[in-house]
């Protein structure tokens, strides 16, 4: 029974990692930028989620609002911070991104206070029994269902629509895509919008599970999501999903069985280093 519970904990955590890391891998696949400030958008999503839910009482509306606002902020971030740095060596954008992330965390602390916000009437409390003696919280079920839904829709868009084709073309060869009439600029905007919106959903969901948003809630995802996209093979979407799930499950089992030797983060990065030494291109990456 413990195994099943740990497995589910891992899947829930893995789904959240997947939502965050997917946006990051979209950005990396297209622009080769390690977008640390992505985690700040995740936190912003959490704040908007809690504030809108407290004002209107509707979680669905909160998720929608968070997606739209954070998506637009993500596009603005690309326009103002990253676009001018694209021609520079990659670590310039990386450090700029880290600086943005630290600044954002400070802004959250100054604007919303250091102790964070909570839901006044936390939605989706309680849970249900899957099999006798094993409960799943409604919030956790929502995480799994929503992630599956969003990822399927994204998979469908990228595989079967005109938009998806032009997106994949731009990732593979931007110049060729432009020659065939794809507006690569719009693809980049859309890329940032979707990636940031996904991070916002993850933010709202994490805020729901913990019933708390705080200025520092992005610090763990900021580096762990980087580890995940590297583990999966930079820019590979399927690799990112696989790595998110593996890491979620490994962390949930690892903290119980070898938690006295290594803490959660060290476990994740230890696994990352071991994998990279054997497969330098990541799990599903290509050289």
């Amino acid at each position: 029974m413990l195994y099943l519970e740990l497995l589910f904990q891992g899947i829930v955590q893995g789904s959240i990692y997947a939502l965050i890391a997917l946006g990051l891998t979209l950005v990396y696949g297209l622009l080769r930028i390690l977008h640390v400030a992505h985690a700040a958008l995740f936190t912003l999503g959490g704040y908007i989620g809690v504030i809108v839910t407290n004002q209107t009482g509707s979680l669905a509306l909160a998720i929608l609002a968070a997606m739209i606002v954070v998506g637009l902020v993500g596009v603005a971030m690309y326009k103002l911070a990253y676009e001018p740095l694209l021609s520079k060596p990659p670590f310039i954008a990386l450090i700029a991104s880290i600086a943005l992330f630290i600044a954002a965390e400070e802004l959250f602390r100054i604007i919303f206070g250091p102790y964070g916000l909570s839901y006044e009437n936390p939605p989706l409390q309680g849970g249900f029994e899957i099999i006798s003696g094993f409960f799943l919280k409604y919030g956790e079920a929502l995480v799994i269902i929503l992630s599956l839904l969003i990822l399927s829709v994204l998979g469908w868009i990228s595989g079967y629509t005109r938009l998806g084709v032009s997106w994949r073309a731009t990732v593979t060869d931007p110049d060729m895509a432009r020659a065939f009439g794809v507006n690569t600029q719009n693809v980049r905007y859309l890329n940032f919008f979707i990636g940031s919106a996904l991070a916002a959903v993850a933010g709202v969901l994490v805020a729901l599970l913990n019933n708390l948003v705080e200025p520092t809630m992005g610090s763990v995802p900021s580096y762990k999501a980087l580890a995940i996209i590297v583990l999966g093979g930079l820019g590979s979407i399927r690799g990112t999903l696989l790595a998110s799930m593996i890491l979620g499950v490994i962390e949930s089992f690892g903290t119980i069985y070898i938690g006295h030797l290594l803490d959660r983060d060290a476990l994740a990065f230890g696994f990352l280093i071991v994998v990279l030494m054997f497969r330098p291109q990541g799990l599903l990456g290509t050289r």
């Binding site: 990396y28 080769r32 390690l34 911070a81 001018p84 740095l85 520079k88 060596p89 990659p90 670590f91 310039i92 954008a93 990386l94 450090i95 700029a96 880290i98 600086a99 943005l100 630290i102 600044a103 400070e106 802004l107 100054i110 580096y223 980087l226 580890a227 590297v230 930079l234 006295h260 030797l261 290594l262 803490d263 983060d265 060290a266 476990l267 994740a268 990065f269 230890g270 990352l272 280093i273 990279l276 030494m277 330098p280 291109q281 990541g282």
Partner: protein, 281 residues
């Protein structure tokens, strides 16, 4: 005077630490997001020995050896993975380091090691030692930069594959850069332990690794003078901008961002452009 001595010691240790990263990232072009781990190894090695009343002057080289050995291991990793993959691997090293140290009773666990004795040198003598060590390594860096070794590093930083084709043993030089850089970071760590007379797992984490990388990049990556200046200023900047207190970190990160956005080649780049403008007049 006591305050000035503390300030100068802090600066000298930061300069040494930043120059040690500059050797790896600036000269040899190998990015590291986990350089604080090596300072941590040196600091913990030094702290444990100094608690056993071993003299500072003996402790420093031992700390360098410990950090250098770990650096050699990470150097081997740098032969396997490159660029962004290397950046994340080195980031992993710092989280592993902190995670392992946290769980070790004999290293003080979460609490760290405190109550390290003052060395026989006294505060002024210790300050002089730090300044001299930083100065020596700066001189060494300048020397390397001008020598044939500097050209080899330049070529590796520029393009590893082409260097290999030109007959440069890339692996050997990368390992050399890693060992020298990390051993020096270990020395900086030993000095840190003596200066603050305390080491804890939170003193050598990811944030510290980023701060030292920021010093290198703000100074101008690869520029010895630029990095020295940036490290000296940035290490005491939080003290200098005390007046903005609550907004301290915000100001710091805004400065860092503007630097990247408007002058990605750092202070050295700004100076270079000004110089060119004066010369062309």
């Amino acid at each position: 005077m006591a305050y000035e001595i503390t300030l100068l010691t802090t600066m000298a240790i930061s300069v040494l630490f930043a120059l040690s990263l500059n050797f790896i990232t600036g000269f040899c072009g190998q990015i590291s997001l986990g350089h604080a781990a090596f300072m941590g190894v040196g600091a913990y090695a030094a702290a444990t020995m100094m608690k056993a009343s071993i003299s500072l002057l003996f402790v420093i080289p031992v700390a360098a050896v410990f950090a250098g050995v770990l650096g050699l291991l990470v150097g081997f990793a740098s032969l396997r993975v490159r660029h962004d993959f290397l950046a994340i691997t080195t980031m992993g090293v710092v989280f592993l380091f902190v995670g392992v140290v946290r769980q070790q009773e004999f290293l003080g666990g979460e609490i760290g090691i405190s109550g390290i004795q003052q060395s026989v040198l006294g505060r002024t003598g210790f300050m002089l030692l730090c300044v001299v060590l930083a100065g020596v390594f700066a001189g060494f860096s300048l020397l390397v930069k001008r020598s044939w070794l500097g050209f080899v590093f330049d070529s590796i930083a520029d393009n590893e594959d082409v260097s290999q084709v030109l007959g440069i043993d890339v692996a050997k030089y990368k390992l050399f850069a890693f060992v020298v850089g990390t051993a020096t970071a270990g020395i900086a760590g030993a000095l840190y332990a003596q200066h603050y007379r305390f080491v804890g797992p939170d003193s050598f984490g990811f944030v510290e690794s980023i701060s030292v990388l920021a010093m290198v990049v703000v100074g101008g990556i690869g520029s010895v003078w630029g990095v020295m200046f940036a490290a000296a200023v940035l290490s005491v900047l939080p003290l200098l901008i005390q007046f903005v207190d609550d907004y301290k970190i915000l100001v710091y990160s805004a400065l860092l961002f503007s630097m990247m956005r408007f002058s990605p080649d750092g202070l050295a780049g700004i100076v270079q452009r000004l110089r060119n403008r004066v010369r062309n007049r």
